[in-house]
C-alpha cells in the first residue's frame, strides 16, 4: 500500500475513497487509510468490551480489533443474516477492522461536489463525519477514521 498519495502509475489518490454501505447509507473513507478488505472472518468476542467492539481476529499473525461501525454510529443492529465485510485500517500502529454491511467501489471524487456536514445531521454521525459528497444518485458521508477510533475522546464526550 502506497503511503505517498500516489499509486504506482503516478495517479493522485488524494481524492479516492473506499465506499461502503451501512443501513443503506453510503459512506466513504480515504483510500490511503485502508490496508485490506476482509470477508467475514472468525472473530473472538472480547468480554466486558464496549458494545461497538465486535471482537479480535487474526490477520496474518497480527491481532486486529474489530469495530462494529453500525454500533459506533448509533444505528440499530443489523438484522439481516448477511454477515458483513471488514475494512482493515491502521491507527497508531494498531490494526482495526471496521465491520460494515458491504463494500462498494473505490471512487475518485471531485472536490467541487464536497459539502460540509449539514447541521441537522444526527450528532452520532456528525461527530465522525467530515463532510458530504454529492454523487449523481446518492450522497456519500465521509468518515474520519481517526475520530472513529479515538475511543478516549468519544468516551469523554
Amino acid at each position: 500500500m502506497t503511503q505517498t498519495g500516489q499509486d504506482m502509475t503516478g495517479t493522485d489518490l488524494s481524492n479516492d475513497f473506499v465506499t461502503f454501505w451501512i443501513a443503506e447509507q453510503l459512506f466513504g473513507i480515504h483510500v490511503l487509510k485502508v490496508q485490506d478488505i476482509l470477508a467475514q472472518s472468525k472473530t473472538t468476542p472480547v468480554p466486558l468490551a464496549p458494545p461497538e467492539i465486535a471482537g479480535s481476529l487474526n490477520l496474518r499473525g497480527r491481532i486486529v480489533t474489530s469495530v462494529d461501525v453500525r454500533c459506533r454510529l448509533g444505528l440499530p443492529p443489523d438484522t439481516s443474516e448477511g454477515g458483513g465485510t471488514s475494512i482493515v485500517v491502521e491507527q497508531d500502529h494498531d490494526l482495526y477492522s471496521l465491520l460494515v454491511d458491504s463494500v462498494g467501489e473505490v471512487l475518485t471524487l471531485a472536490a467541487d461536489s464536497f459539502e460540509p456536514n449539514p447541521p441537522t445531521l444526527s450528532p452520532a454521525i456528525r461527530q465522525y463525519a467530515t463532510g458530504i459528497y454529492r454523487l449523481e444518485k446518492e450522497l456519500l458521508v465521509v468518515l474520519d477514521v481517526d475520530r472513529l477510533l479515538d475511543y478516549g475522546r468519544s468516551a469523554a464526550a
Partner: protein, 904 residues
Amino acid sequence: MDDLLAEFLTESNEGLQVLDNELVKLEQNPNDPELLSNIFRLMHTIKGTCGFLGLPRLEGVAHAGENVLGRLRDGEITVSPEIVSLILECLDRIREILAALEATESEPEGDDADLIARLNAAAEGKASAPEAPAADEPAPEPVEMVSEEESQPGDASEPEAVETEAAAEATVEAAPESEAPVEPTPETPEAPKPAASDAPPAPAAKAEAKATKESAVANQSIRVNVDLLEDLMTMVSELVLTRNQLLQILRTQKESEFGGPLQRLNHVVSELQEGVMKTRMQPIGNAWAKLPRLVRDLSHELGKKIELEMRGADTELDRQVLDLIKDPLTHMVRNSADHGLERTEDRVSTGKSETGTIVLEAYHEGGQIIIKISDDGRGINVDRVKEKAIVNGLATEAEMEMLSDQQINQFIFKPGFSTAEAVTAVSGRGVGMDVVRTNIEKIGGTIELTSTQGEGSCFTIKIPLTLAIVSALIVACAGERFAIPQLSVVELVRASGASEHSIERIQDTPVLRLRDRLLPLVHLRDLLHLENDFTELTEEQEDVRRDDFIVVTQVANYSFGIIVDRVFDTEEIVVKPVAPILREISLFSGNTILGDGSVVMILDPNGIASVTGEINVTDKAEEDAQQEVAHAEDRVAMLLFRAEGNTPKAVPLSLVARLEEVDLAQVEASGDQRVVQYRGQLMPLFTMEGSEEPTSESGRRPVLVFSEQGRNLGLMVNEIVDIIETPLNVELSGESDGFVGSAIINDAATEVIDVGYYVNLAFDDWFGAGRQATADAGNGRRVLLVDDSAFFRNLLSPLLDVAGYQVTTVESAVEALQLCEEGRDFDVIISDIEMPGMSGYDLCEALKTKRWAETPIVALSAHSSPGDIARGREVGFADYVAKFDRDALLSSLDETLAEMRGAA
C-alpha cells in the same frame, strides 16, 4: 556520534561504575594494595583515554583525582572517608562532563579549578612525607595540557611498576603453572608512557585480576543495539507462533511427509528462541551496580553502619525485566536502610551487632527469578501497621483481630502506607511499597513479605524470566477460550457432584473445600458476563450436572479458584498488548494467537484478584502451595526408550540435547566407528551394548543426541517411549558398562544409562583423531590477537577478518599462553605491549621457551618511539606497529608471514 567517542563513553561509564564500588570497598579495607592498584588503574585509563581524544577539561579533573589516588597507593597519604568522598565527588564531576559530552559531543564549558584545587590539597596537604613531587605537579589547568603530558610519565613510572607487580602476583595465583616472569624491575625505565598508551579503556570486569576466567567471558562480546535484539525477539516470537500452528495442523494428520521436517523445524525454532532469549539476558548485578554506593551514602547520611551483601549477582534475566525492577529494588534497599535497620545505638542496646546487614539475593527457581531483600533490622511493627490500617480505613478493628501477623503485614503494600515515623529525605513519603508492588505485578511478578518483629524482614520477589513468551494454560468458558499465565496457576481441581471435591455455596458465593480449607471461587462466566448459549439449564442444575474445572490461582498470598468449563493443555504464547480501546478492562493482560490461529484473551490473575477482593488472605494456602512446588522439584524428567532386550531404558532428559531421527542409509563407517553427518560435522553413532545391529540398510532410527563441549554424539535406540516426571531412585548399581543402575519408573524396572560412558567412548576413539586431522589440514593464516582492550579487539578483529585472516582474540598474555599450552597453533601473533599483568614483552619472552618459539609476534603499541622499537626487536618481536596504523599492520603481517615462508 563518532564511534570512538561512543565507545569511550560506554567504557568510561562502566569504569566509573566499578570505581564507585571499588572506592566503597576501599573505605572498608583501606590497606588493600591490590584494590588501590585497581582503582588507580581505572582512573588512569579514563584520564589517558580522554587525553587521547582531546578532552582537556575531563583530563584535568581525572588527572587531579589520579594524583590523589597515586599518593594513596604509595602510602604517602592514608585513606579516610573525607578523601573517599572527595574522590567520589571527582567521579561525579567526571560523570557530569561525560553526560554533557554524550548530549552535545563536545566538552561543556565550566570551571573545575575549585575541585582540582581541593584534590591537589588533599594530595599534597596530607602527604605524610612532603617530598619533591609537589613541584612536579603544576595545578592541572586545561591550558597546560602539553606540559602535563610531559611531566606525567615521570609520575607514572613508579606506580606503573608497582601495579605490574601486583597484577603479576595475581596472575601467578590464577595460573600457577604458567611461567609468568615476575620481573617488574627491568620494566621501570620503560614504563613512561603517555596517556594514550593506557588509553584502551579497561573493561569493568577486568578490575579484578584474579577473575581472569570471568572477564574472559565478559570480553568475548560485541555491543549490539538493543532495538535490534528487540526486533529479533519479536520475529522469533512470530516464528514460534507459526511453528505452533504448523504442529497443530500436523497433529490432525496421521501420516504426513511434513512430519520429519516439521519436527526438525520444531527443534531449531526452540533452540533459536532459547538463543535469542539468552542474548537479551543480563546479570541482575547490572541492576545492583549502583546499590553499594547508595548504601554507603545512606549510611553516612543516616549515621548507621550498614553492610550490603549481594549474592547471586550473576543470575541472568531478560533486560526488559531488569529495567523494570531496577527502580523497585533501589527503593526497597533504600527502605531497608532507612527504616528497616535501627540506629546504631538501638542495635547495641538490643544486643545486636553495630553493623546492620542488608542482604540482596537472586537465584533461579522453576522458570522464575527469585529476588530476596532481607535485613536484620527491627522488622515490621505489627501493631503500628494495624493502627495505621484502621486509621486509613482499610479494615475495621474487628477484621484486624481475625488476621494473622503475616496477613497484617501485607497492608504495607496498600497505597499511602508508610510506617516511617518521620518523613526523611530518604523515604517515608507515602509513595512506597504500593508502587513497588504495582511495578512488580506489571511484569507478572509477585511480592511477598515475611517479618519477625525485632529480627528483621524479608521481601521475596518472584518474577518471570522473560516477558515476551509465557507459558499459559488454555481454558474454555461458555464456548470461548482464554489463556491464564502458568506462573499464577498453582493446581487444577476437577469438581463434580460425584467427586470428593464439590462446589458448595454460602448464599450465592461458591467455595471449595480443598485440603480442609475453604477456597474462595469465582465463576469466569459471571466475571466476564458471558452468556451461556448452549444450555437451558438453571444454575443449580448446571452445577450438579456439569463437571467444573477449578484453576487454583495464586496472587501474592491470595489463593482463589477460577471456575471454568474446560481445561485444555498449556501453550507457549506470545503476549501481545490489546488495542488501546480495550486497555481499560483490567481482567485482561493482553491477547495472543494460539496454534490454531485463533485469537484469545489472556486473563490477568492480578486483575481478577483485585476485582474479587483480596482481603480474604489465606496464608495457609500459600504454605501449601509451596509444599506443592517443593514436591514437584524432587521429580526428574526422564526420557524412556527401548533399545536391546525388553527392559526399558531411561536417561535424565536434561542430559539429552536433542532427539533426532537418522536415516540408516546416511550412516557411514569411519574405521569401525559409525558416523553420520550432522549439522556440518560428523557425529559418532553408538548403539546400546549388545543390541542387535541394524540389519536393514534403510529406514529411520531414533537417535538421542548428547552434546559435550560443543561436540555431539548420537545413541541409536529402537524406540522412544515417553518422557515422564518421576522421583528418581536408582536402586542397583549397574554391573555392565554404560549403565548407572536400575530404577522403578512407571512401575517397571528400568535401566538408567550412563551418558558419560558413551562420551568417553566417543572422545577417545573419534575426537582425538578428528582433531589431529583438522589441525594438519588447516593452512589458512591464523592470527592470534592479544589485547586487553575490548575496544581495540573490536576494532582490529573485523579488520583482520576482512583481510582474510582467521582471527582468534584473547584479552591477556596469560590466556595466550593457555592457548599455547592447549596445543593451538597460529601463523602469527599480534600482541599489545601495555597490558595489565603480563606485558607484551613478557609474553614474547615467555613464548621463546615454548612451542610457539617459531611463531612470529608483531607488537602493537600506541607508542612507537625508536627506543621502544629497539627494545621490541631485542626481545624478539618480528615487527613493531603503531596501534592506529591499520595499513602498516596489514602490510607488516604480510611481510612477516612471507618471511616465515621464505625461511621455512
